[in-house]
């Protein structure tokens, strides 16, 4: 038996070998690579010969005029996205749950989770034209044309070029992309609620609204708590791909986020060390938040990640 067990352990190690090696090279080496945040990294010299500068890059960072606005924008956009991506799918799942016509429900779901499967490049290509302000009000995109015809606005809105409007556009279009897909989880939870609870409450004289409030919502509260807790970890993720496709210099003031700043500093301006320092800041704060969220998910929802 012992030799069989030994052999079995060896097979397990062998299976994991390839995944572990690949993760080491492409995920762990970059983690060690954050040492360049403490160096004056020169690509020609590499990790070993570049000069060590201690916390110099972090001092520069704190003085960088773009950093605090980017941090603030990241938090604002991410927090509103988290709220929107929670409230709207729950509401939509409750609405769908009231539908009794099967084919209608199915068709609605099929269409609403379509945007989830399209990349931000495709959606960006669609939205840049759809939301376009146009040069004159006669060549505005469909959104502005519709709003003008309905008499809701007097002049086309610059959804993507006005720094006061841009964060709203980003938040709403993100909820638009994700809500259909996010609804799946809540809808599954809703179908798992014990039907006898509804019967019992209706015998007790509870109306539909009362039932929604005292049976349906409590029934999906655990999954709502779980999703909320797990989203804490993404509080510094405002959505790089989306903003990278949609933003322009005229909205940097309210639309530039940490990830787009890292990209411009590092890969456009080639300030590798400074950019890595911003990355380290984000990685450490995010990491702590993710750990907290895992702990909370375990404590309040009994959910273990691994």
């Amino acid at each position: 038996m012992n030799s069989i067990d030994k052999n079995r352990q060896r097979v397990f190690h062998l299976m994991l070998l390839l995944p572990v090696v690949i993760l080491f090279i492409f995920s762990y080496l970059p983690i060690f690579g954050i040492v360049i945040a403490f160096q004056d990294y020169q690509p020609g010299l590499g990790f070993f010969k570049s000069d060590w500068v201690g916390f110099e890059n972090f001092r520069t960072l704190a003085l960088l005029p773009d950093f605090m606005p980017a941090l603030r924008n990241t938090l604002v956009i991410a927090v509103f996205k988290i709220i929107g991506n929670l409230v709207f799918p729950v509401a939509f799942a409750l609405m769908l749950n009231e539908l009794r016509v099967k084919w209608f429900k199915k068709t609605v779901q099929t269409i609403t989770y379509l945007p989830y499967f399209l990349s931000w490049v495709v959606l960006g290509g669609i939205l840049l034209d759809f939301l376009s302000q146009g040069n004159t009000s006669s060549d505005a995109g469909l959104m502005n044309t519709a709003l003008l015809n309905l008499g809701l606005i007097d002049a086309p809105i610059s959804f993507l070029g006005d720094k006061h409007v841009f964060p709203g556009t980003v938040i709403i279009s993100d909820v638009w992309k994700h809500f259909g897909y996010n609804t799946i989880v809540y809808l599954a939870a809703l179908t798992n609620i014990n039907p006898s609870l509804y019967e019992a409450s209706s015998i007790d004289g509870a109306g539909r609204w009362k039932q929604t409030w005292s049976v349906t919502l409590p029934g999906i509260t655990p999954i709502i708590i779980l999703m909320t807790v797990l989203s804490i970890g993404s509080i510094l993720n405002a959505g790089f791909e989306q903003i990278f496709v949609l933003y322009s210099p005229s909205v940097y003031e309210t639309g530039d986020i940490i990830d787009t700043l890292v990209y411009r500093l590092g890969l456009v301006d080639s300030q590798f060390s400074l950019s890595a320092a911003v990355g380290v800041f984000k990685s450490v704060v995010s990491g702590i938040l993710i750990l907290v969220s895992f702990k909370l998910a375990d404590k309040y929802a009994g959910y273990r990640v691994f």
């Binding site: 690579g33 609403t112 490049v121 034209d129 890969l267 959910y303």
Partner: protein, 297 residues
């Protein structure tokens, strides 16, 4: 559950609810229909801003123009290549990791060290610049492998499959072991055939990830000929100044019903046709896969 004698207020609610759902659904559809209408419209109608949800001056010229565009097809070929190599690699490594990790700590004694190794990467990452430096130091810039290896082990997928394996009855494995089957045989002949729905879900996740990825193509390629389709489209979408129609083709384009707008719309639409083709499968498996693994990363 719905009683026969429905009250008037209930009826009003049902109708309002259905109308609201319909409006929300249309909001998801209209921008995409608008794109489709533009791709089939004449350039004159587009310039005059007459296209809404139905093609005006219907024609296929933009599509014909794209058919002859070597840039578009070069990029499409890179995408097909990364899907054909990347998805099988994703699946192989996901299963190889998920199987041993699905065992209990008692059966696989080193499991907790490995799971720490994987979970750590869900919490921390090196970030854009150090990853870029590693990929470029390995000489992978402009190689298809730069689009495949950095995303070769999707940890979220490993967790999905691992959870599914854990749900399978232990007796299956015990009886196979008594028959002298090795762990390889048990994984390959017993666990995999029983896990078809979740394997299908994860394959679709991986397929969509590879099909839609564009940022890696953008940063890991020095030459635009190495761009996958989505990176190529990104340059069209973001770089509004550059005309899609190159100099000597101008006259041909003018003679045809082609301009930047319907050309862009046609290319975007062609790029999402394969996703529509697999959409029925996605619907079938995603709900299943999602409810098994429960939570998105």
């Amino acid at each position: 559950m719905l009683a026969k004698n429905v009250s008037a207020s209930r009826k009003v609610f049902i109708i309002c609810n259905a109308v609201l759902i319909l409006l929300i659904t249309l909001a998801c559809l209209i921008p995409i229909v608008n794109l489709l209408a533009r791709s089939f419209s004449s350039s004159q109608a587009i310039i005059e801003n007459r296209v809404t949800l139905w093609p005006v001056g219907f024609n296929l010229d933009a599509y014909e123009y794209v058919m002859d565009s070597s840039e578009f097809w070069t990029a499409a070929l890179v995408t097909v290549k990364r899907v054909l190599i990347g998805v099988p690699i994703n699946m192989l490594l996901t299963i190889l990791a998920a199987y041993p990790l699905s065992k209990s700590d008692g059966v696989f004694r080193a499991r907790k060290y490995y799971s720490f190794y994987f979970v750590f990467l869900m919490v921390f990452n090196g970030g854009l610049i150090p990853t870029y430096i590693v990929v470029s130091q390995l000489g992978l810039i402009d190689s298809i492998w730069s689009l495949i290896l950095p995303v070769a082990v999707p940890i979220f997928n490993v967790i999905l499959i691992m959870n599914f394996f854990r749900g399978l009855p232990e007796e299956l494995e015990e009886s196979a072991m008594l028959d002298g089957a090795s762990q390889w045989t048990i994984m390959w002949r017993i666990f995999l055939p029983l896990s078809k729905p979740s394997i299908a879900t994860v394959s679709l996740f991986s397929l969509i990830m590879h099909w839609n990825a564009w940022f890696d193509g953008l940063i890991y390629s020095n030459f635009t000929t190495n761009y996958p389709l989505q990176s190529y489209l990104q340059t069209l979408v973001v770089d509004v100044q550059a005309s899609l129609i190159s100099g000597d083709l101008d006259s041909i384009a003018a003679a045809m019903n082609v301009n930047d707008i319907n050309l862009k719309a046609a290319q975007i639409f062609i790029s999402i046709i394969p996703l529509f083709a697999i959409y029925p499968f996605m619907q079938k498996y995603f709900t299943e896969g999602l409810t098994v693994g429960s939570v998105k990363g």
